[in-house]
Amino acid sequence: MPTLVIDNREVTVPEGMNVLDAAKAIDIVVPHFCYHEALGAIGSCRLCAMQFLEGPVQGVKMACMVPAQDGMVVSTSAAEAVELREHVIEWLMTNHPHDCPVCDEGGECLLQDMTIAGGHYLRRYRGKKATYTNQYLGPFIEQEMNRCITCYRCSRTYRDYCGGRDFGVFGSRNRVFFGRYKDGQLESPFSGNLVDICPTGVFTDKPFRFKSRIWDLQEAPSICPQCSLGCSTIPGGRFRELQRIRSGINQTTNGFFICDRGRFGYGHVNHPERPRDPRVDGLPVTMEEAITAARNRVDALAAKYGGASIAFLGSPRASLEGNLLLQAWAGRVGSSQSVFDAHQGRDHAARSLAANLASLARSLSDVRQSDLIILIGADPLAEGPSLALAIRQAVRQGSEVIVIDPRPVALPCAHQHIPLPPQLLHMVLKALESGQYDELNDAQTQPAVKTLRSKIAQAKLPVLIGGADMLGGLGVKLLCDAAKRFISAECNIGVMVMLSGPNSFGGAFLNIGGPDFDALIDAFQEGRVRGLVCLESDPFREAQFPAKAQAALGHLELLISIDCTPTLAAKRADIFMPSRATAEMAGSFINNEGRLQAFHQAIEPGMPLSALGPGKHPPRLFQSTTPGATPQPAWQILGQLLDRPADLNQLRRTLAAENPKLKALTHVDTTAARICAEPNGIAAALTHEMFSADSSAGNVPLLITSAFVGSHWLSHLSSPLKALREEPTVWLHPSLAATLGLKHGERAILSTTLGRCHVRVQTSNDMAQELALTYQLLDSALEGMSPGTIINCRLTGEEGQ
């Protein structure tokens, strides 16, 4: 713990901290560009100069490059240092164009701030400026290269931190250019971070281009609703339109960066088809009427057929408060039919995780520091992209990554891939747990698992990572059991499982002992359950076997839907009540490590101004009501229905009082405690239902999983992300492709019980043999295929028709 003196103030900082951060610790901020907490120091911008008066280092030095040491006496205001900084900022500004008024960075531009802070206010340079030709970098990022001050932050972020390969530095001296070799879409799924990281306006948010100035944005800390990792985000909106999302800073989860799905996947909030008006039997009503109708009809149904005749379907994307109140409603009606996820495999996985995780829980920050990462049935880019970023940071520090998966899992870092068919994953886990390799008769797999065991035993901070789709409830339990096996004084092993939604863990925690959706489907068909209440969920699309679910749901007498997106359930509901999206409300989620996190309201709901009035021009006449502002937070709708407090804090207090395990709800913040359920509370049998394929002649088992873009409902509603959608594809091992007579890149016809469609064939050596793989793509022929299932298919070449 070195102690040094900065500007006559003594400060003691941790070992290894640089002098720039030490100064920041006592609120002395010196202008700097290239240094970033996540990227480290390279001392290239020459702006953080300080005068070192006494101690081991002397003279004017770059503070970011000097580790704090005992006996240092540093001055930030020494004339020599100030003059140097002034000159440096003036040099940086010589080529900078005069276009702040038309630059989207204006208002959050580090260069603007640092120019003023550095004392440069008058351009003395009268010569000509260098100019560049811009590149097209895809639908997310707008480049304006003239503004560049060559701080290298972008290439360090894109290449070093995020592992992108298609972006770099060209040229020399004053011709340095940051970009791709040729125009085109940036390939990294983390390219949006260039917007946050660029200190000036070279890389700006393209969907947000010219929409607002940041000082006009309404912003609030929020949680990303796209996956279960619970990354911190800051949504910003204006004129009732959510216009951008930038990364929040939370060192325990995402750190400084988020993925492109989280950053650009906010389209569901402004979606033109978003239902905003309550309906009863297809007729528009007020929210109060809809609530009264919902209460009365549910009560009437309960009186007629008994409380158990109504089922309540929660959701992984509804807030914890909403799910809690839905359960309270079920309790009041006297129904025990309360489920939180329509997808049975994911439901089981989440419940299994909530019951078994306990102290095995690891955060993304733990993953970043891990020294051995084993992914079993996990595809981070599809299920939780920020995890891929965290794994890369671990690899950069020397960690080893082993992927055991039937899919060709793409990671932005070096890793060892063991392709195994899905049915073997459980056996690998069992073998890991028990050390018995008998079931693994594969000659390749046995030694691989053996080495794996020894590697885990030698590692200090290993993390086992799984995915809900591939493992299911049983797999998650096996994963946790396997991890427990290795716990020792030296080996601090942990587990992370990617679930389906931001509040999967919370929903599973609440419904740990309830029935599952398949049981409900049977009940619908038998007429035991006649009413269904859907809270921000869409059983028509999200069920593991959608066709079966749709047929069963036809038997319902009453369908009530509370949602903020145009789901099928919302369209078909007898009673519909519009709820608010995450950015429009306050609430809390429990992420996949059991961490209870709160989010705040950033914008007010309502029809965006740009969707109103002639030619996007706002109306001249004002009205006392905001058009489309009826949506209320789901917990508020349910709270009114159940006569609960309308104030969130009050509601949280009462809910915490009812459920002692949730007492953290009374003081939720970003570092709130983890929550875990009782391990023995699971009622439903943890079977694994994904294998319904038989490998009779001509049939190929088809594994369906999710893609980075296109399989997730919320991001599917976002138009900029559509550019990243792949065309329908089938992945095959080259040997299987050869057997079927298909070649890489060819088009083929995929026929299953769900229909026929045209797909592109891709082959990869990382695929498991004797298996085809495809992604669910919403709004395409592959829509009906639910991730986490294996069905029979036939593949024929197009010309074979």
Partner: protein
């Protein structure tokens, strides 16, 4: 002597006001008599144009940011040639206090204030001026300035063709 000074100081104003009572008031009888305000008088706001006729306003929101009463609102949009312009621009003159901070903040000299002070109206909606009400056909006080000739983003001229620019760099060249 202070007492004498106090008494004098108390009585003197009486004498002065009595004197004023018989002088002609300086008030200008407004609706009948009108005065011509100086050219820099801060009254009705206009949006001016470039010397070549393009809109000067780039919808940078600096005027609305500077406005202490929040009477300016706008929405930026992009033209086919990359020019940033105001899709709509609205000044609510029933709220405006004519402080001139918007004209001060305007980086492109688009917002300027004119001496036209007679804009009272009984219908408040008539005081909400839209872009077509604000935009004039002229440069206003500065007849030379064209923002896009200095901005360096290739709107008025091609990239690198402005007077203070070199042509675009070829980053792939190996020449020194």
């Amino acid at each position: 002597m202070t007492l004498w000074r106090d008494i004098k100081g108390t009585l003197q104003p009486f004498w002065i006001t009595l004197g004023y009572l018989f002088q002609k008031p300086v008030t200008i009888q407004y609706p009948e008599v009108k005065r011509t305000p100086p050219p820099r008088y801060r009254a009705r706001i206009v949006l001016t144009r470039d010397p070549d006729g393009g809109e000067r306003c780039v919808a940078c929101h600096l005027c609305s940011g500077a406005c202490p009463v929040d009477c300016i609102s706008m929405q930026a949009a992009e033209d086919a040639d990359g020019r940033r312009y105001a899709a709509w621009f609205r000044i609510n003159f029933s709220r405006c206090i004519f402080c001139g901070l918007c004209a001060e903040a305007c980086p492109t000299l688009a917002i300027q204030m004119t001496p036209d002070y007679e804009i009272c109206n009984r219908d408040i909606l008539n005081l909400v001026y839209e872009k077509e009400d604000l935009l004039i056909d002229g440069c206003g006080k500065d007849t030379q300035y064209n923002f896009y000739e200095h901005a360096g983003i290739g709107v008025a001229n091609e990239r690198g063709r402005n007077q203070d620019e070199y042509g675009p760099v070829d980053p792939k060249s190996l020449l020194p």
